[in-house]
């Protein structure tokens, strides 16, 4: 993956992640350094090329000498940092957070067009979620099929806001936003109207590609058929920011 041109006066720091000695530029975040070094850190809201959101809390890591946990996506590295990404405590927390997501809406994998290509599903498996201990919330959400090319199934939305950010920051349309608050939050287009009637959606489909689950998909796809392609994002992001 292409990197932005290295700015000469950015210092290089040394640190350890899970007892591995590493070096990194001081303007990098922990999650960026982990990804470069193939250290797996789960995340659902972070995406290279989009602004930091810090909402999914799956990338929380432990820093030696600090009592609280830090979100790897929102924390810059520093000289001498000693980071732990896979403690038993973190694993327990991550598992619970994923269970909370599964219980919040209807993620019925068996009948999802993203089945087998879903970041939530992968993470559930990686984090050992073989069942959900909290009760399912049983709230019904609508499916918006009004757009001629794409479909939005709120039941599968995890509110990561990748779609909101890509539409605003990369496409520049800001068709999407979030309405309401708390667990009543919902992704909306324009004045919470059907997507197909949006005045400013350009139908570019970036939101669909960055969506980690089967919430935003192409029309006409059947179970397991929706495969997402996000390779364009770092390229577009770099060119946008170079402007």
């Amino acid at each position: 993956m292409a990197q932005p041109a290295v700015i000469p006066n950015v210092r290089v720091v040394t640190l350890t992640i899970d007892d591995r000695d590493l070096s990194a530029r001081e303007d990098e975040t922990i999650i960026e350094v982990c990804r470069e070094n193939h250290i797996p850190i789960p995340s659902l809201c972070h995406l290279d090329g989009l602004s930091v959101w810090g909402g999914c809390r799956l990338c929380m890591v432990e820093l030696e000498g600090q009592a609280r946990l830090f979100a790897a996506c929102a924390t810059r590295v520093a000289e001498g940092m000693r980071i732990h990404t896979m403690s038993e405590k973190l694993k327990r927390y991550r598992r619970t957070i994923i269970e909370l997501l599964f219980a919040e809406r209807h993620h019925v994998c068996a009948v999802c067009v993203s089945n087998g290509h879903c970041e939530l599903q992968w993470l559930a498996q990686k984090c050992g979620v073989d069942h959900v201990r909290v009760p399912y919330r049983q709230a019904a959400y609508p499916v918006d099929s009004s757009h001629e090319m794409f479909r939005l199934d709120h039941n599968r939305c995890i509110l990561c806001t990748r779609c909101v950010r890509v539409c605003d920051e990369i496409e520049g349309a800001h068709t999407w936003d979030i309405m309401g608050r708390g667990t009543d939050c919902r992704v909306i287009s324009d004045l919470a109207q059907p997507w197909g009637t949006s005045d400013n959606c350009t139908s570019c489909g970036k939101c669909v590609q960055v969506c980690p689950t089967g919430a935003l998909v192409k029309q006409g796809t059947s179970v397991g058929e929706m495969v997402k392609d996000q390779h364009f994002l770092p390229i577009l992001a770099r060119r946008r920011h170079a402007q």
């Binding site: 993620h107 994998c109 599903q121 498996q125 050992g128 073989d130 399912y136 019904a140």
Partner: protein
Amino acid sequence: MNTKKITVATAWLDGCSGCHMSFLDLDQQLFDLIAQIDIVYSPLVDAKELPAMVDVGILEGSISSEDDLEKARLFRKHCKLLISLGDCAVTGNVPALRNQFKLTDVFNRAYYETATVQAQIPTRDVPALRVPVKPIHGEVAVDVFIPGCPPRAGAIGYVLTELLAGRVPDPSSVTRFGA
């Protein structure tokens, strides 16, 4: 090798029987298993009564009716170890999709709107439906979960083989929701 065979009971609650079919898909491996286990109660065999004590109980399907609940409780009571087999048992899956609707709407849809002859809601000899549909562990404690829709035959074989070997299986390495 155990001298006494491990006893196994299975049942399907609100499910499509696909998980049982997947179990049968073990093909050749079934013969190895049968040498070590004794299926004492199952839709696959003739036995009509659940024995007083069974080593392993396997439940497919979600708890959608009073009958399902009763059977799940029965299994919990009489099985030393209880396995939730497949997504319907583990998550509620497709049967739980009806939780989004009112029960009356579900009945109307099933027995009036789509009926071609004698539209009526059956009331006799059918178990009452429960609201909401729940996974097995929503009502009784479960020891091992095998997600999947259906879980692959190999995954079922792996879990049983591990249990027979006296190990605690970790199905998450070979299974996931929905597949």
